[in-house]
Amino acid sequence: MSVYAAAADGAQTVRRYQQLRLNEVLENAQGNIADAGELQKRQLDLLIANQNLQFANDIMTLVLRNISQLQP
């Protein structure tokens, strides 16, 4: 094998390795994005539930105050 052929083969190997590594990094990144999306969704779900509970709590407090006011 000539030097040029060996260099071309080496370059091909490096490119293949780089491609594999790039694919791995991309997969990881996509996994991270998916996890981050899942996390954001769950955090927003929690935020909504928290707000709704707080809202319900405020209304119940108001109702209890009204009840005590309406009683003799």
């Binding site: 991270n32 996390l39 709704n52």
Partner: protein, 347 residues
């Protein structure tokens, strides 16, 4: 990666905590509903009672109070029913919020009206205490006499005191009011023993002639009661030297409340949001917060779809999401919460 997963686990435990809170809230909702139903039953019973009374200004006020009680109790039940059907895990729609807002405004209106009606007699009572002359229709003769504390014997007219040593032209029958009390061990009409009253307990602790008569005893008893009562009142007055000031402050406060609530009387509930800024501001703030989250969810739906296609986070979606948050912010929402949500998407 592991950091995100840890945060997801934390979010899951937070969700469990919220689930417990939700169960607790549902239990409270059930018990509060029972109380609200009992209040409604009482209000309806009261309304039936006052409606059966003959018409008069006094019963008119009672009827108004009973009507307001019924309306307030029904309103409370409506609010609780609405809470029961609310999906805790889902953002409320703006229309659901509008409905809540309307019921809450109605609640405030009823409470205001109820207070105006209820405060009137309180004000009159305070006025009567502070300034009896100004109280119309209350003359000194009309003021009810307060019964003496501890006095059980009926109060009889007190005749002028007998002069000591005076004798009546007509001998009184024994043991009658005004006659000398028969002493123990003596028969009625028996002349006094020579040498005094003897050696019994009365002789050792002689009582005055006044005390020997029933009227005199009653009078002394009344005087001592009056003195005791006066001392009690004085002690109370000294102990509560600020009572009058407190009453005046209370009266002023009640009048302030009345003045601020007076425009509400007879107005449509819609006006309440303008007239009761404090109460409605709180409601609006709550509405605004969840409305903002509602908007955010809608935009996040698009964002989530793009994430599902494994494409990079679209700048356009993110921009739209942030815009939605900004709009929510300008609608008067909590800026802290905004920043937190924005931070989630800026990571």
């Amino acid at each position: 990666m592991s950091d995100i997963r840890e945060q997801i686990k934390k979010a899951e435990s937070e969700r469990d905590r919220l689930a417990h809170m939700r169960q607790d809230m549902m239990r409270r909702l059930v018990s509060t509903s029972k109380q609200a139903e009992a209040t409604l039953r009482y209000a309806e019973k009261e309304l039936r009672r006052v409606e059966s009374l003959p018409a008069s200004p006094a019963t008119e006020r009672e009827t108004l109070m009973a009507l307001l009680r019924c309306e307030g109790a029904r309103n409370n039940l409506m609010l609780l029913e609405k809470l029961k059907t609310m999906e805790i895990d889902q953002a409320l729609t703006p229309s659901a919020f509008q409905h809540f807002d309307e019921i809450l405004a109605r609640t405030q209106f009823i409470a205001a009206e109820f207070n105006v009606v209820r405060y009137e007699p309180i004000l009159r009572a305070i006025d009567a205490v502070l300034d009896p002359q100004k109280e119309e229709g209350v003359s000194p003769e009309k003021v009810e006499e307060v019964p003496l504390k501890g006095g059980t014997a009926p109060v009889r007219p007190i005749p002028p005191p007998r002069k000591l040593g005076a004798t009546s032209a007509f001998p009184s029958p024994p043991n009658k009011v005004g006659s000398p009390r028969a002493l123990p061990g003596t028969r009625p009409g028996t002349p006094p023993r020579p040498g005094g009253l003897g050696t019994g307990p009365l002789a050792r602790n002689p009582v005055s002639p006044m005390q020997r008569t029933r009227v005199g005893t009653e009078r002394l008893s009344m005087e001592s009661q009056l003195q005791g009562r006066l001392e009690g009142v004085l002690k109370e007055a000294i102990a509560d030297a600020e009572v009058v000031d407190k009453l005046k402050t209370l009266r002023d406060r009640v009048r302030d409340v009345q003045a601020s609530l007076a425009p509400l009387r007879g107005d449509a509930p819609g006006v309440v949001s303008e007239l009761l800024p404090d109460a409605t501001a709180a409601i609006r703030q709550l509405s605004g917060k969840v409305y903002m989250v509602n908007r955010a969810i809608a935009v996040l739906g698009d964002l989530g779809q793009e994430l599902a296609f494994e494409s990079p986070v679209a700048d356009e979606s993110l921009t739209r999401f942030l815009q939605a948050l900004e709009e929510g912010d300008s609608a008067g929402n909590s800026s802290d919460r905004m920043e937190r949500i924005k931070g989630l998407f800026r990571r």
